[in-house]
Amino acid sequence: MESTRISLKKKLNEVFLVAPNDLGFAPLTNIYKKITGNLKTMPFFIIFPLSLFFAVVLYLLFGYLLVKLVTLLQYGF
């Protein structure tokens, strides 16, 4: 009982570490919660497709300049 109580107290302290975000405008707060809710667990399910989409868009917009940028970045380490 005592160890369970201590674990629960520790977990509650952890969960309530910070107050929930309030952006001061209800629709904005809802949008924020929707976006962050999807990014809290397994964010790469969203990040990978999104990054690939932006990379393809960048290629379609800038063409060979993207290839030059990649060359620059590869020299960048």
Binding site: T41, M42, V67, Q74
Partner: protein
């Protein structure tokens, strides 16, 4: 503190870093929240060791203008300036903050940076630049851009969560502090580039 304690702490921290690495991919929110409460300096020290190992490896592949130790000292300077910057700003509005929490959580945000730089170094060996305009060159460029963007987004998420849990800031304050940080980081990076210290800032 004797040698056995230090060795045990180091081994525990190494295991925790491996565990947290995977959990930061799967659930960054809960993991950074836990790290902000339970992280310690041994973990930060091991992260710095990984950074130092990278500088020596990269120097082995491609000679830097400066010795790797100097590059590592510059990295440490950047790291402590960045964390102090956020901590001192946050202290004006928040009470009961601990610098240690920010240092430890911020050190975990180095994972995306390390992955990108290590991958870049290995690609320099396996697929050395320049990239051509062939179909393979273009495909690789798109894939590389997607990979870099993914790591950048992950980095932003980790930095945001680090500041949220260590400094107890809300969304607006984090965004505002970050914009102020960029106003300092961009000219600072240009100075480091012009002095041939870092081509791309190691943040």
């Amino acid at each position: 503190m004797d040698f056995e304690d230090v060795a045990t702490n180091l081994l525990t921290s190494a295991l925790l870093i491996i565990k947290y690495f995977f959990f930061l991919i799967v659930s960054p929110y809960k993991t950074l929240r836990k790290i902000s409460l339970e992280g310690d300096y041994y973990e930060m020290g091991l992260m710095f060791f990984l950074v130092a190992a990278y500088f020596y490896f990269a120097n082995f592949i491609r000679k830097f203008s400066n010795p790797p130790l100097i590059e590592f000292v510059f990295f440490l300077t950047n790291f402590f300036i960045s964390t102090s910057f956020f901590y001192l700003l946050a202290k004006k509005t928040q009470k009961n903050l601990q610098f240690k929490n920010l240092l430890v959580t911020f050190s975990y945000t180095l994972f995306p940076t390390l992955i990108w730089f290590w991958t870049n170094s290995l690609l320099y060996l396996l697929l050395p630049p320049p990239r051509t305009l062939s179909i393979f060159g273009r495909a690789f460029s798109v894939a590389y851009t997607a990979f870099s963007l993914s790591l950048l987004i992950w980095k932003v998420i980790l930095v945001y969560l680090s500041m949220r849990f260590s400094l107890r800031l809300n969304f607006y304050k984090i965004a505002y502090f970050f914009i102020l940080y960029l106003c300092f980081l961009i000219p600072y990076s240009i100075i480091l580039y012009s002095f041939r210290i870092f081509r791309i800032p190691f943040v």
